[in-house]
């Protein structure tokens, strides 16, 4: 196992959990990023402000990462634009059809022990693993 970073990943995960917990306990909202993002593209009354503030926060946090974590944007694997476009379409459409992504289902949903989120998370990890298997072991890692 190379690149394994258990401590940094656990610490980062705790920060993600604290952020999502703050959204729940203070604002009563689920920190599901795909839903928040969709809510900005297709605004719903009364929900646009907090969703916009959260996304602006993500972007500001993203800017702070540059000086704080030198490797944050060493992507390591960068797919061609055409592949990223297909990936983005699948992520955008799939997260809306399935009502959530890694944050909404994977963190908040599993944290609530929601059966829907447990099934969704198992499903997206499984299909993700199948695609990575095909790309890395059948197609030789290059796209």
């Amino acid at each position: 196992m190379h690149n394994f970073t258990p401590i940094a990943s656990l610490m980062g995960g705790i920060l993600v959990g604290l952020s999502a917990s703050t959204m729940l306990l203070m604002n009563g909202k689920i920190a599901g990023i795909s839903g928040i993002f969709a809510g900005i593209l297709n605004p719903v009354k009364d929900d646009t402000l907090w969703k916009s503030c959260f996304v602006v926060g993500l972007l500001v946090g993203g800017m702070l990462l540059k000086p704080l974590v030198s490797t944050a944007y060493d992507f390591g694997v960068v797919r061609p634009y055409s592949v990223l476009a297909v990936a983005g379409l699948l992520v955008g459409y799939g997260t809306r059809l399935g009502n959530g992504c890694t944050s909404g289902h994977g963190v908040c949903g599993i944290g609530r022990l929601s059966p829907r989120s447990l099934v969704a998370t198992a499903t997206f990890i499984a299909t993700g693993a199948i695609v990575v298997y095909l790309v890395n072991h059948i197609l030789g890692g290059q796209l």
Partner: protein, 155 residues
Amino acid sequence: MKAALTSFISGIVFALGLGISGMTRPIKVIGFLDFFGNWDASLAFVMLGAITVYFIAYRLSRKMPSPILAPAFSIPERTRLDARLIAGAALFGAGWGLGGFCPGPAITALASGASPVVVFVAAMSIGTFLYTLTTEMRMSKLRSASTVVQVAPDS
């Protein structure tokens, strides 16, 4: 105003957490999904940390009559496992494995200004928009069929 500020700060902390944990790097995500290759278990540790904290916070929230800055909790109440959920998660997972980005890290990494991320997020926006479009078309078809249909709200 306080609720908006809380959302803003939570967004910052969320992004920092993703960056520190390595999740803004597709190599870490694809490394986790590569169970039959050089498996990188880091993503499981991100989930472990985040879920443990959230599990405690959720238990706490059950004892509160309302959140601190809002009149009520907005928690999804659906419990039915349906084809939509599975199909949606399956499509999302395929895209996640293909590009190595999911929505949170992708939006965070927009701040890097890297063009692959811009392409991914633009496509993700189109995918989100396509969903809204197809759902609205389906709903108007249902309405014109003059049957009474209850449509569950999205979470």
